[in-house]
């Protein structure tokens, strides 16, 4: 469950104040946030992930107010309850695919069994390249790895920032379906932020910034 109220953000004093619409998502609900470039989509996502502190308003995830958490609590909360997917499919460069997933689990401090990694590797068709270093992975493998990194620890909220903008139609469809499937399996809220209108049909609920 995720809820925002009267969320505003200002990068520097005197600059324009960004304000964001209130959203309320029930358990397992998904949301598409559409908007042109430069309108503050990523800022909204970072506010939801607790990476930025809002100037005003509140973000509640499972009734926990992110603003009320200390620096360390926020790190911990993020590690356990939030999964982020980025446009560039980054993971830790010096580690292998498998070690990246192990690292993600380790940092979440959640006790999740190793079978979870195995299952996910199979679901995302990453079993063959699990020992490859991130640098050696193909585009598609990186894309799937970044989804795996976002869901391995069974977060409450999956936040995806422009996950499809550089993909062709078919891959775009694949990625969205994988994200939705993983959100369903982990019973998480999925919020996708994009300017890519191709994925509008996959979501029941959408807002425009």
């Amino acid at each position: 469950m995720i809820q925002t109220s009267n969320l505003t953000f200002q990068y520097k004093k005197g600059e324009q104040i960004l304000s964001f619409p209130n959203i309320t998502l029930d358990k397992q609900e998904s949301l598409l946030v559409l908007g042109k470039s430069g309108i503050g989509k990523t800022t909204f996502l970072h506010l939801l992930a607790g990476l930025l502190k809002p100037t005003g308003g509140k973000v509640l995830i499972s009734d926990i107010d992110l603003c009320s958490l200390s620096h360390n609590q926020l790190d911990k909360f993020r590690g356990q309850q939030i999964g982020l997917v980025f446009q560039k499919k980054y993971a830790i460069q010096s580690l292998s695919l498998l070690d990246n997933l192990k690292m993600r689990l380790f940092l979440s401090k959640k006790s999740i069994k190793d079978t979870r990694i195995k299952l996910l590797l199979e679901q995302l068709d990453l079993n063959d390249c699990k020992n490859k270093r991130v640098q050696a992975l193909s585009e598609g493998q990186l894309q799937r790895l970044s989804i795996a990194m976002a869901v391995i620890h069974r977060p409450q909220v999956i936040l995806a920032d422009e996950p499809t903008s550089s993909l062709d139609d078919e891959n775009c469809k694949n990625v969205i379906e994988l994200l939705k499937q993983q959100a369903r399996e982990t019973e998480a809220n999925l919020i996708v932020i994009t300017h890519d209108h191709r994925i509008k049909p996959y979501f029941q609920k959408s807002i425009t910034l």
């Binding site: 970072h46 990476l51 790190d75 590690g79 982020l84 560039k88 460069q93 940092l107 401090k109």
Partner: protein, 414 residues
């Protein structure tokens, strides 16, 4: 565990930087350790090998040479003194013990010292097995000699004339091992000890043989030693004296130097003089070693700082995975510490192996005892200094992490 692993993989992913860092750091550690080693070895010589020897009396010449040859058994003897004359000094009331020594022979590079049983008390040496020397041509051997030459009680060997392994003139008399000493970590471990009479006997016979061959002009020293049959003026190389009373330090050496044709040298004073000559060189190397340490710490700083900057996205990503600032700092600290540990091990190993190889190459096996094993405490001291420097370095290198704005970094990389 994952943090350690990441640090290790980070290092592995940039091998050139890692090798450069390890190389420069181990070089500076090697120098630092080496200098410490030199200093300690020297101090050990002064403090331990002197045993209870306050004064050395020998033939006139260089006092330093007298000390080196008669106390540390490193250099050649200057010449001999008359036993009768030396005996007079032992009767001085200020003298506690006076031990005559006479040498000039070796067995496989280990010196044979003719002396009395008091010699052992100078070094607080105790017999491990066997008995003291009672008869002519019996020897007791130091622990290192026993181990290196694999000699045991009852074994016999022929001594050679001269003091180095390469002299080949062999004496005819067989020496028999009757005792083995416990290890003392002093110079006595490397010596073969026998009675004065054995040395005299060996050279006496030799002299007779020479007479037969009419080589009178040769070995003048020996002829003088035994100039008339039956009435020999016995000679020794030097007399090791310990005082009963510190006042003797003031009077006795001057008296001997002025009133006899022998010289008296104070080992502590001579060795300190030598140490002062050397310490200028040692200090210079120490300064260079610290400079290299500074440079290598700076190299490590630059590569860690660069890594923090270059990997800022990775680090920001780790933060989004839930890593705390502290965990990121740990990761970089581990990278620094892994470099230090490897460099340290290399430094210590090269020093240990290097010292042995150098002495082996120089063919001076008998001088390895100059090298004292560096005490663990000393190694630890240098280790602690380096680790503190590295921790400071890491603290500087992670400033960008503390200042990191995850949101901005993620945005910029998009």
């Amino acid at each position: 565990m994952m943090i350690w692993k990441t640090s290790l993989y980070n290092l592995k992913s940039k091998p050139l930087y890692t090798i450069l860092n390890i190389f420069s750091l181990s070089l500076s550690m090697l120098l630092l350790l080496g200098i410490r080693q030199l200093k300690i070895s020297f101090e050990h010589q002064v403090a331990h090998n002197l045993g209870n020897i306050d004064l050395v009396i020998g033939a006139k010449g260089s006092p330093l040479q007298l000390v080196l040859s008669s106390v540390l058994h490193l250099d050649n003897p200057i010449g001999n003194i008359l036993y009768e004359e030396a005996k007079k000094i032992s009767k001085n009331p200020m003298v506690k013990t006076a031990v005559p020594i006479s040498y000039g022979d070796h067995y496989k590079g280990y010196r044979i010292v003719g002396t009395t049983n008091d010699f052992m008390t100078l070094y607080d040496a105790k017999l491990e097995r066997g008995q003291k020397v009672d008869n002519v041509l019996e020897v007791i051997i130091g622990s290192t000699v026993a181990a290196e030459l694999q000699l045991d009680i009852g074994d016999t060997f022929l001594s050679s004339h001269g003091l180095t392994e390469h002299s080949i003139e062999v004496h005819a008399e067989k020496l028999t091992v009757v005792g083995i000493l416990k290890p003392t970590r002093k110079v006595i471990d490397h010596l073969i000890i026998t009675g004065l009479e054995s040395i005299w006997d060996i050279h006496h016979h030799e002299n007779e043989m020479m007479d037969e061959h009419k080589e009178h002009d040769h070995e003048e020293e020996h002829r003088k030693e035994f100039d008339t049959e039956g009435h020999e003026e016995k000679e020794i190389t030097s007399l090791l004296v310990s005082f009963r009373n510190p006042v003797a330090f003031l009077n006795l050496p001057r008296k001997i130097n002025e009133e006899t044709n022998m010289q008296a040298a104070l080992p502590k004073y001579e060795l300190n003089k030598l140490y002062n000559y050397l310490s200028l060189g040692i200090d210079t190397i120490a300064v260079i070693a610290y400079l290299i340490l500074m440079i290598s710490v700076m190299t490590i700083f630059i590569s860690l700082y660069k890594m923090v900057k270059e990997r800022s996205f990775d680090l920001a990503l780790l933060r989004t995975y839930g890593a705390s600032n502290f965990q990121l700092i740990q990761m970089i600290l581990f990278e620094g510490l892994i470099i230090v540990m490897i460099a340290f091990i290399i430094g210590v190993l090269v020093l240990k192996i290097g010292a042995n190889v150098v002495f082996e190459l120089l063919g001076q096996k008998d001088k390895v005892h100059m090298f004292v094993t560096l005490p663990f405490q000393e190694i630890l001291q240098i280790g602690v200094v380096v680790v503190i420097l590295i921790i400071l370095t890491v603290l500087l290198a992670i400033i960008p992490i503390i200042k990191m704005n995850i949101s901005t970094i993620l945005n910029n990389e998009k």
